[in-house]
Symmetry: C3
Subunit: 262 residues, 3 copies
């Protein structure tokens, strides 16, 4: 039992229905000893960009060999493929719709298979609307049980995967032009500007006409004040000490932010 | 440990308080090795119909012997009875208020006891408002530990249980008149018309003056378009590809839908 | 494995981001066998009073030795200290901001350390905004693994901790003047008046001009009617049978309530 891999789940199923519980039941039917960790089930419906962001920022915090199941799947039941992917750090299971693009840009795929072997599905006649239950959960549990990835289906070319890249920020002289790529529960506005671009430098943010100084942490400014900081996922972000930057600035996903550094 | 049954929890406790966490603590006090799976804690307060729907559609996805604890319990602390029920597939623990009616119509009760044996409660002086903690969680953990159902209380007649049946759909010639019995996170409108009534047939739905064609899955229609389909629980449902059918149609629980098939 | 302590998590991280999942990943990286129970992640952002209330009312329902990690932490990354506390019943891990005040008033601290030993942190260079991941989760997992509390840092004086006491109710003759200290999912208004003050007595509540009789449980009054009762945490509370007392009375946290008893 000591080497049993963990399965994580990331979906847009929310918590008001039985979809997530049933996925865990399917895993338990195959092996009740498998540990399942909820990564996040509150991805907005069909929001692949949010799912992509969450996976990319989470996978390094799990044990080697962890199996990440991601089910944000507007194309379920159509011709889009079901994927099993091996990374250096573990495995990815989910639809071929770009949800894994960001994580794969950081940790290249070693092996990719299309999950065609129905022997490891929950049923050979799966629901056309719930592959999470009938294919992904079942396949992940068998993988955790020691079935090898290549038994789950046919190898396919890594280059054939659907790609959904993050909008990149642009560096021009001492200015970086980026955008908001994620907004968290606290209303923190997380940009697509990595900390590495300003490391060791003095920097500040500009949003429209508003200039926002950078600090080390929330408590360095007065309650209610805006600040820029390096967020816990190492992206530059805009926050308000004990407040909500999204509400204060009325920014949205994709809104432009500029960073000046020296 | 290999044969330790799982406990599932279905409640209307939500996630903003400690009620669910405390139930898990009580189980862990009895045996920290027991696996607990959250089925759903976002049942709307006191909504027995939603609870009944969720249980009925979930129980087949869990290992044999699983103990399902259901606590939607507006009559807590009154004379309503506390039940332990044995099915072919596992056990049900909860109040005698009809919450188990649908599951029992599919999987008949083999043994029913009233949970009167205070030896297996958390305390012999339970809270009048939280039997989930002081009776159901404790009894479920002892059952998972190998105590037999009949040790938990007195056998009672199956026919004496409170019954809360699903409104049945009606078939008249080639028309089925049904209603919306559940609305999920995505705004999918789930009817009380089982897939078996239209299997192998051509069918479409009518809601008021709106005619909705049936398809295999969401992606078979344009983004934003309505479709009828066989949902993952094998009920006919109305959905919108990458949209929200409830918002688009402004239907509610109980709204009438018609199906025509040939 | 039989003696492995459980870790519980209480945060204001909500469920829409990966923060909680990542904390569980960090624990699993140290030891995937550790059981983690979610106490509550929906504490309103930075609401130390709600966090304090939840911890105080939950800790007795867990096995001895349980490690409670609490991360509501507006001062993260500033000079505020990180604490490890030993109680008779288990351990507390979190920031020194008063979040543990109430629990410590019921169960005195036996040993308190400041978590200064970076050997047990996830990284010696932790994020200034996410000590939950980089310090608290890691330290809790090592504690669960058998590292002693005093290895985690320097002992400090119990009297030096930040104190954030509950507003106390006042007893004047046969009247108790208290206030609402917590409002739960159902809209139940939980006062700061302990049941012990009215035990064995006849009592009723007054809110403004509204007089509210006490009963044993919800079902003792008509649907939609107000009642006072002893809540499951042994505080007097105001509820509505199958309704929402907060919405009906429009009370808030801190609103004054009076109890008359004889």
């Amino acid at each position: 039992m000591s080497q049993q891999p963990i399965i994580t789940l990331l979906t847009d199923f929310g918590s008001q229905d039985i979809y997530v519980g049933v996925i865990k039941g399917v895993i338990a039917q195959i092996n009740p000893q498998i540990s399942v960790i909820d990564l996040n089930h509150e991805i907005p419906p069909q929001d692949l960009a949010a799912a992509r962001f969450c996976l990319m920022n989470a996978y390094t915090y799990f044990p080697r060999g962890t199996i990440h199941v991601a089910v944000v799947d507007p194309g379920v039941g159509t011709q889009r493929r079901n994927l099993g992917i091996q990374l250096a750090e573990g495995y990815l299971i989910g639809p071929d719709n770009g949800i894994f693009s960001s994580i794969l840009s950081l940790s290249p795929a070693q092996v990719v298979v299309e999950l065609t072997n129905r022997q490891y599905w929950r049923t050979t006649n799966p629901s056309d609307t719930f592959h999470g239950r009938d294919i992904f959960a079942s396949v992940a549990a068998h993988l955790a049980n020691g079935i090898s990835l290549t038994q789950l289906g046919e190898k396919i070319e890594i280059t054939s995967l659907v790609n959904l890249p993050i909008p990149q920020c642009q560096v021009i002289d001492h200015k970086i032009i980026g955008s908001i790529q994620y907004i968290d529960r606290f209303g923190n506005l997380i940009t697509n500007i990595p900390e590495s671009l300003v490391r060791g430098k003095s920097w500040c943010l500009t949003v429209g006409r508003i200039k926002i100084p950078s600090h080390q942490t929330y408590g360095n400014v007065r309650v209610g004040s805006l600040l820029g900081l390096v967020g816990s996922h190492n992206w530059l972000e805009i926050a308000v000490n004990q407040g909500n930057a999204q509400q204060q600035l009325q920014l949205n996903l994709g809104s432009i932010v500029e960073v000046i550094y020296q």
